[in-house]
Symmetry: C2
Subunit: 189 residues, 2 copies
Amino acid sequence: MARPGGRSARVQASVHAAVRELTSEVGRDALTVPMIAQRAGVTPSTIYRRWGDLQELMSDVAVERLRPDTAPKDLGDLVSDLTAWAEQFFDEMASPAGRAYIRDALLGDPDGSNAGQCSAYAAEQIDVILTRATERGENAPDTEAVIDHVVAPLMYRILFRPDGLDASYARRLVATAVAPSHKGPPPTA
Amino acid sequence: MARPGGRSARVQASVHAAVRELTSEVGRDALTVPMIAQRAGVTPSTIYRRWGDLQELMSDVAVERLRPDTAPKDLGDLVSDLTAWAEQFFDEMASPAGRAYIRDALLGDPDGSNAGQCSAYAAEQIDVILTRATERGENAPDTEAVIDHVVAPLMYRILFRPDGLDASYARRLVATAVAPSHKGPPPTA
DNA sequence: CGACTAGACGCAATAACTTTGCTTTAAGCT
DNA sequence: AGCTTAAAGCAAAGTTATTGCGTCTAGTCG
């Protein structure tokens, strides 16, 4: 039986807050379950029973922090909207903190649901932008195409080749994804 | 001073072998440093001193297993070569074992060098294929373009959205990456 | 409104893992 | 062959992870 409110909710909030505080105080790599438990005013066994281990807890916190808090800005046309979104996405994800969150989200994630959630967040934001463009009468690519041509290359390079990466790469990806050809449906999963 | 041969090499080989054996016997998630040490005929402190912790050891082993062992096949033309390579890459990476290796490689990797190595392996293989195509007189895309349009989408979906993914997706990615437009230089990092 | 039920937490003992100082081995060099 | 020193072994100390059991409380039913 789920217990959305009450004591359980307080414990969860308290533990999440403790993780955020301690991450900024001592750094992500120095965190331990007992340390988090003490800060949260909880016993370690509570955390172990509820989250399993440190990685799963961090994964849980990471997904929460990677959730976008605002709708993408409306700048009047598709290219501007998508470029602005991609730049912001890049800035958040490519920072040391962002990379750590992504890795945590991927890591302590036995069934892949947390990673899937992150991807879903991005897809939702893109969907908003593309729907808006379509309503304006612009001809917009498919959401999956934007994921393949913009999100995936960004993520790949952030995770596997972080060197020499900057926001201009994100802009170029958007430009080539939106501009050329692509009349036939692009590859879809 | 580096000690490439001798006892250190034997210990490394023995530990790596122990990891591989135990992974298939008890599963990746049940591994512990003391367990590996015992199987390898080594004391736990040796592993802790040399690799730091279990994650870094797993990352080390993962990179070794992700190294391609053969040059890509030569089937006579660019599309065939790249398609065959992408299918094989997909099969290896999308399997449960492959996903586990990728995650391990990303995980215990403080400076990102292991992940970079994985990406370099793929880039090398692609380079061989593209060079061959150019020598045949075919006009081939840039290595970076193939990474953006084929490797990155594959990896992104394997890591973030493993559901409903199959080899035909890899084929479609190659088809759209090689075939259309792309006269101007595609986005590069 | 009050008793009941079951999931979640606290506590404490136990077990397992990690770290560390010191000693011993053996690879590479002269 | 002898020397030097990185790396491994050993063992004690410290920390973290697991687990059984009693208690509390949110949600439910009478």
